[in-house]
């Protein structure tokens, strides 16, 4: 009986988005009402009849609820929710995931780079001289921790950078490196510079950022 009453109400409602909540609300109401009638001494069947009768005409109730819940309003709200959800996923796929994977790649890259350096690059330059040099380019201080070299007159300056918080007013982003006493050329790789020397000897390494020069004595003679 209760189910038939609710089905009749629902059959008059066109909006599918409200059927579930209306059905639950009405069936809860009827359950409470039946319970009250049973407590007043009615048997279960009579209590159900009384409860349903008290509700009124199910068709009229359905029509009235149908009028209260126009489909287009809920359609609009559902469509806006779908649009918002799609937008969130687009943002996640287009912006968040690529950036997270970039960060991972960067991190991964660093890890691999260290492996590459220690396993493949450094062994090419078996001799190592620890250094503690610093020079500035714009707002970045470069530290030179190590100079590695080999018997083929190739050297490797290993740099690490430390960024300062206060940017320099000078818009100078590059630097030059020169050698005194020997001739040298260089090219940058990963975190360092490969130095091609015409001979392995003591020399003066000069960094020039356009405004200042830093001179460092590099003594290699002892190694050979």
């Amino acid at each position: 009986m209760v189910d038939k009453f609710i089905q009749t109400v629902l059959s008059h409602i066109a909006n599918p988005f409200v059927l579930g909540t209306i059905s639950r609300e009405l069936s809860n109401h009827l359950e409470d009402s039946i319970k009250t009638y049973v407590e007043r001494g009615y048997n279960q069947n009579d209590a159900e009849d009384k409860a349903i009768e008290a509700m009124g005409d199910p068709a009229e109730l359905g029509e009235s609820l149908n009028y209260t819940h126009p489909l287009y309003i809920d359609l609009f709200s559902v469509l806006s929710k779908i649009t918002a959800a799609v937008a969130v996923w687009v943002v996640i796929f287009m912006i968040v995931i690529p950036n997270v994977s970039k960060i991972n790649d960067k991190y991964q890259g660093k890890k691999d780079l260290n492996e590459v350096l220690s396993q493949e690059i450094y062994p090419k330059y078996p001799y190592s001289k620890k250094l503690e040099l610093e020079f500035d380019v714009t707002n970045t201080t470069y530290k030179v921790k190590e100079f590695r070299f080999n018997e083929e007159n190739e050297g490797l300056l290993i740099l690490s950078e430390m960024t300062r918080m206060i940017p320099s007013p000078f818009n100078q982003y590059s630097f030059n490196m020169e050698c005194e006493n020997i001739n040298c050329q260089y090219q940058s790789i990963y975190n360092g510079l490969i130095v091609y020397m015409d001979e392995v000897d003591d020399f003066v390494l000069i960094f020039d950022n356009g405004f200042s020069k830093w001179r460092f004595n590099i003594e290699l003679k002892d190694f050979l």
């Binding site: 109400v9 909540t21 209306i22 639950r24 609300e25 009405l26 809860n28 109401h29 359950e31 409470d32 009402s33 009250t36 008290a54 509700m55 009124g56 005409d57 199910p58 009229e60 109730l61 009235s64 609820l65 009028y67 209260t68 819940h69 309003i73």
Partner: protein, 116 residues
């Protein structure tokens, strides 16, 4: 007829809003309270409450939420909103003007009748 319906609608809406203004309530509780307070004069068809509640919610005068009972049944409670409180105040005033006018008219008629 339509005016009559309008007054019935306003009266029912006013009673529903003021009952929910006292505390959050669910549908059946409202029906019971209406019957109890009106000494069972207001025995509306219980189903008619729900279009009123849903319309008040659609208009932003009420907000509903679900709560589980001890028997683990889900009940839909209604809470009055700020907008609803404002609406209640306005309707109370309108109703008071209306009922006073009715009493004045009725009393006036009685006086006239008695005067004959």
């Amino acid at each position: 007829m339509s005016d009559n319906r309008e007054w019935l609608r306003t009266g029912a809406q006013l009673m529903v809003l003021s009952l929910i203004d006292e505390k959050d309530r669910y549908g059946y509780e409202i029906i019971q309270e209406l019957e109890r307070r009106s000494d069972e004069v207001f025995q509306m068809k219980e189903g008619t409450l729900y279009p009123i509640l849903h319309r008040l919610e659609n208009e932003g005068h009420l907000k509903s939420y679900k709560q589980k009972t001890v028997e683990n049944r889900e009940r839909k409670y209604y809470r009055i909103t700020k907008k609803g409180k404002k609406q209640l105040q306005e309707e109370k005033e309108k109703w008071s003007v209306f009922s006073n006018s009715v009493i004045k008219v009725v009393n006036g008629m009685e006086l006239t009748l008695n005067g004959r």
